[in-house]
Symmetry: C2
Subunit: 428 residues, 2 copies
Amino acid sequence: MERSVRLSPLEKEQQLSYFETEVMNVLNWLATFSPDEEGGITRLLYTEGWLKTQQALQLKMDSCGLVTEFDNVGNLFGRLLGEDENAPSIITGSHIDTVIQGGKYDGAYGIAAGLLALEYLQRRYGKPKRTLEIVSLCEEEGSRFPMAYWGSGSIVGKRNFEQIVHLQDSQEVFFADAMQRCGFGEGIGRESRRDDIAAFIEVHIEQGAVLEQDGFSIGVVETIAGQRRMKFEVIGESNHAGTTPMPMRRDALEGVSMMILKLRQEALRIGAPLVATVGRLQVLPNVPNVVPGKVIFTVDARHADGQALDRFCQWVMKEFATLAAERQLEIEGTEWFREEPVPMNERLKQHMDDVCGQMGISSKRMISGAGHDAQMFEHICPTAMLFVPSRRGISHSPEEYTRPRELAVGVLVLTELLYRLGYEGEEL
Amino acid sequence: MERSVRLSPLEKEQQLSYFETEVMNVLNWLATFSPDEEGGITRLLYTEGWLKTQQALQLKMDSCGLVTEFDNVGNLFGRLLGEDENAPSIITGSHIDTVIQGGKYDGAYGIAAGLLALEYLQRRYGKPKRTLEIVSLCEEEGSRFPMAYWGSGSIVGKRNFEQIVHLQDSQEVFFADAMQRCGFGEGIGRESRRDDIAAFIEVHIEQGAVLEQDGFSIGVVETIAGQRRMKFEVIGESNHAGTTPMPMRRDALEGVSMMILKLRQEALRIGAPLVATVGRLQVLPNVPNVVPGKVIFTVDARHADGQALDRFCQWVMKEFATLAAERQLEIEGTEWFREEPVPMNERLKQHMDDVCGQMGISSKRMISGAGHDAQMFEHICPTAMLFVPSRRGISHSPEEYTRPRELAVGVLVLTELLYRLGYEGEEL
């Protein structure tokens, strides 16, 4: 409890008020680089706007006294060197790329928070015991090329240049060409793979409405949920809508409607943190006066427990097959994407709980239903994530919004955590 | 009963066997004019293939001794002049156009049947008491321009040149230009509007599977069903599929799935001849990992009783609104197409029942769920329709099929009916 003495209520308020102003300055400044015509941010990997953003961030880090460096895929690091320069670094940060027509918080907030925390810590406490780093990861969203987590994945060794050889964007530009035009690529600059990381801490907007609805300031991520994505094709018989009596129909859309309802019913019955979604659905021939002969749709299912998730997916396959058979529909289902749950580091979670508890900041442990760079880092080092609220849970949209004060609380918690780990030598 | 004496079992068999060969000859011959690359027939209004088909049909009618004439929209008539040339005509026929990638029976069969009937009657019985006509109507499907029943509608005064002034096809060709290139249009040739028609009789494939399943040779159409088409837009909230707990969702697709099931349930409960179909459905944003925020879909409802149809549509509007409200979804529904049921002429139906009964041909009264040229003619004259079976109810497809013997039975019934009306002076 002695640490809470360090910051008086007045000091805490002053610091929050400072972060509140500064985090908005950084976010608004970053947003000026890749605005799109619809009022959102579209900052795709290796585009001109992306490069300018990373270059501007490098200058900003330089001016904060950080030692900056790009690696060969375009991840940008800013180091606040510690007394022991050989000790592994504690890294914070997030990704600089966005989805098409995204908002200004997703990714960028984690970079802004890290930058402000390091700048503040250096100004107030000088050199840390061990090196602290901020990283602006080049890519996470997979919005330009069919490849996600390119930045963090390259650092942890889950991504490499072989994997992108054949990848093209929608304009048929090759991944490697786009990368080289920005000055990155194999053999150009420092290897991205690292084995000198002591911990990774990512700050991010929640992208859900749980914190907002439950009235918490901080979400301490327990686990990043595992995902399964399935694709189903249901075949009935396409018939004339006027001449086919109801009992004679084999209407693919009717069968799929029942599947959608049963899926939701079962997901509700099992309860959180399971979620299941039919997000994409296509009807064929999709004509008002023709009974649908075929429906193709996806199921996205997520859970913090991989086995529970598999059990649910097995239930889905079996239940859908039964529902199809009852209606004389054919069905084919395949799982085409699979990601296991990634629990965050328990000691770091405990540190975050403590920081929040001691500073009088309301927090809750929660599951991240979305994927994040943190899940890549957890493969090589203790990793933690903290969330701040997202208004109405909206993300990947120009309407994405978090109140400045909420953003400031996240920066404050991150700053305190980095102080404990980097200056006080708190055990990782 | 004396009439059944006219045709001995042997004669009936000979006549059927003759029609069986001839009707296939005519259908196969017509199919040679507008074959498409997918093995179907694509004969759109005022195309080169369409014009060649009508011109070839004119020659064929000429060679059968009929007096041929086009009207100014391209309907082709072949007259077998009667003793009383001033008496209104009895007309039979159907439309020569097809949908895109259609089959060779829809429309064409009614023309082939009429042609064979007139040719046979003339050859065997000579001049009728009153004029009999075969018509090859220029258009019914609405497949090229957003306009259906152009042929029959022009004859009965429900369609006119004013209505097509602004119409273009998908290649932006104006209706009037396409028409003139084929040698038709306002002021070119005989006015299409007629008021000298005593009766119209259309022979057509069923386009449903009722006759096949119930084992009848002929369907005597009781009524052409009325139609209502509605469009609904259901709005929920588009959210991240990973971060939005199930109970917090306002999933537009879940709501619409329930609507689709309730619609079918209620249509089944009310029973035939009501049919209701959700044929077109669009999900937004239609991305696997996003909870659907909006769904747009159509409802096509048909019934032989206009009031019952309206009651059903009112139920749909109310029930959908309730289902949406229960889920905090917004909904907007509009009726954008409305066609009243058209009962066929009772006396003609009775004549067809009698013909079938006396010739030992199994027939049943039935509702036509599809629209037909007959519904236009019924506005100006006693009208009747007879159906022959469609294999598996398939139509508007290259797989459309009716057995030659089944086609022949339809021609036989039509021939006998025209004999009674045109030669024996049976009352209309």
